[in-house]
Amino acid sequence: MSRVMYLHIGLVVAAVAMILGLRLLGNEYAWYMGYIILQYVLLAVSWNILAGYAGYVNFGTAAFFAAGAYTTILLGKWLGLDLLLCVLAAGVVSGLLGLGMGWLTLRLRGVYFSIATLSLAVVLQTLVVNWPYAGGSSGVYTLRPQDYLVFGNFSEFLFVLMLVLAFSGIAVAAWIERSRLGLGLTTIRDDERAAAAAGVPTLRLKLAATTISGALMGMAGAPLPYYASYLNPEAAFSLNYTINAMAMTLIGGTQSWVGPVIGAVLLGTLQQGATVTISSAANLLIVGGVMILFVTLAPKGILGLIRARRRKGDRA
């Protein structure tokens, strides 16, 4: 069996195991906690598609995420659309946003892209705040249905939805890694000018990466209005999403999708744990501090450390 088959089967097995295991645990808290961690897994994996594979740093994660959340809100209000359809729509909207951002700035150096994404967050937030139909700064309430299809309760459904989305994101990232897109992105990351000189269609590849990355981030944000029941622009556009996506990926390692997953699970669990045990004023300090430590001392992240160990082991 090819590695691809292994990966896909592995993901499905893991998913089923998690659902059954949590059902047995019978504790609804697990669904909530799991949702948040999986959300960060998806955000980190999608952030890494641009950063790790292509070398472009996105400071506007929150903008793409919030665009997904507000797509759900707007479509829910306008057409009464089901959440699943909203998720797909959110992917389209955020994907287009990524495409637009990319087209605007990717002919320039990477740092311009980063700054443009930062501005995007401000512009989008201003737009939403001045848009009464989207709730403006007062926010929007979203009522949850009691249950959904075969699921016992709605929180379980949200968890499974995010599980499917996160694992799909992993599958997409893994596909990119093996594909010509991924190869092209790697050459861009290593030396863009040389790649262009060698005939790699750099702009097209970068646009593909920003579109896919944006779309996944949008889908990560789409269920949020149902999860939190109340959403205002300040919460949706929170800088924390940007910070966490970046920190989790850099701490985990950027070489493959495994890095962001490790980082998200580790940091996400730590943060969730800290919320309900100790005071979390220092929470963000720890995130920032650990990120600095890692980029300074272990720039390839945890994944890099593991691989370095393995190589040493091979040699010995």
């Binding site: 605007l104 443009a116 401000v122 201003t126 300090l285």
Partner: protein, 293 residues
């Protein structure tokens, strides 16, 4: 009612505001524009300076602008040290694009959270003798709270320009922005020059911090408000052009206040950033930048 006095006042207050943006951006124009070090923690350092100045002023009764001048040298040393770390771990390894950026991002977060942990989330401010008073030149009102920091900003920028043109180190800094290797041929160590230049950018952050706390009370998150604006100004100007940064900052301030007066303040942020995005789309080198793309 949009009479001409209202417009004239909007333009003047916009210019004063622009001077504040100018001193806030100038440090970043040096580090980002000339040295290619994307220090996104710059506004956070400015806020840190504001907090420290508030403490100094509370303890000594000194004027905050004066305190800022006193704080500038230690901040300069801090900047020099910071650049050394950055150079060793990132620039030398060729990893400034991502890890370097992440380093400064992490630094920004750490500074902000540290400020909250040490001083709490409340605002800090400094009482000045001239706060609350205005200089009235006919129909044009100039609040001293804005005027004095604006004058300080212009003075600091003037000193900066003169130093860059006249002094040896200053000209070396301007040179290193253009061509590091050529500098080596002149037996000048570019790393040393860059260290000095980066230290200078952080010293400018200290001055900006003093101006900031005279204009408004500062809290740990104030940096966010300035981050976007400062980046916008630097890019609007074009990387590497310091006079351009001043002009771009003034334009920014005037546009913001004119928009607020004519259309209402709700749209000011969008106008400013919209301008930035438009500039990036059609003239990415900014108004005065060279071919840096």
């Amino acid at each position: 009612m949009l009479d001409s006095f209202l417009i004239a006042n909007a333009v003047t207050s916009g210019l004063l505001l622009g001077c504040l943006y100018a001193i806030a951006s100038m440090g970043l124009a040096v580090s980002f524009g000339m040295l290619d070090v994307v220090n996104i923690a710059h506004p956070a350092m400015m806020v840190l300076a504001s907090f420290l100045i508030a403490v100094i002023c509370a303890a000594s009764g000194l004027d905050p602008l004066l305190a800022a001048v006193l704080l500038a040298p230690p901040f300069g040393l801090l900047g020099a040290g910071l650049y050394r770390v950055y150079y060793i771990f990132f620039e030398r390894r060729g990893q400034e694009a991502m890890q370097g950026l992440a380093f400064f991002f992490g630094l920004m977060i750490v500074i902000e959270v540290a400020l909250i942990l040490v001083w709490g989330g409340d605002q800090r401010w400094v009482e000045t003798a001239y706060g609350g008073h205005s200089l009235n030149l006919g129909p044009i009102g100039l609040p001293l709270r804005m005027l004095f920091p604006a004058l300080m900003a212009l003075a600091a920028i003037a000193v900066l320009f003169v130093w860059l043109r006249r002094s040896f180190t200053g000209r070396a800094v301007a040179a290193v922005a253009q061509d590091r290797e050529a500098l080596r041929f002149m037996a000048i160590n570019p790393i040393r020059i860059k260290t000095i230049a980066f230290g200078l950018s952080i010293a400018l952050a200290a001055i900006a911090g003093g101006c900031l706390i005279v204009v408004q009370p500062v809290d740990a998150h104030s940096g966010h408000i300035y981050l976007g604006r400062v980046l916008a100004v630097v890019i609007l100007a074009g990387l590497g052009s310091l006079p351009g940064t001043l002009i771009a900052a003034l334009i920014f301030g005037v546009i913001e206040n004119l928009t607020a007066t004519i259309f209402g303040p709700a749209w000011s942020p969008a106008v400013a950033f919209g301008l930035l995005l438009v500039m990036l789309a059609f003239r990415p080198q900014g108004m005065f930048g060279g071919a840096h793309g």
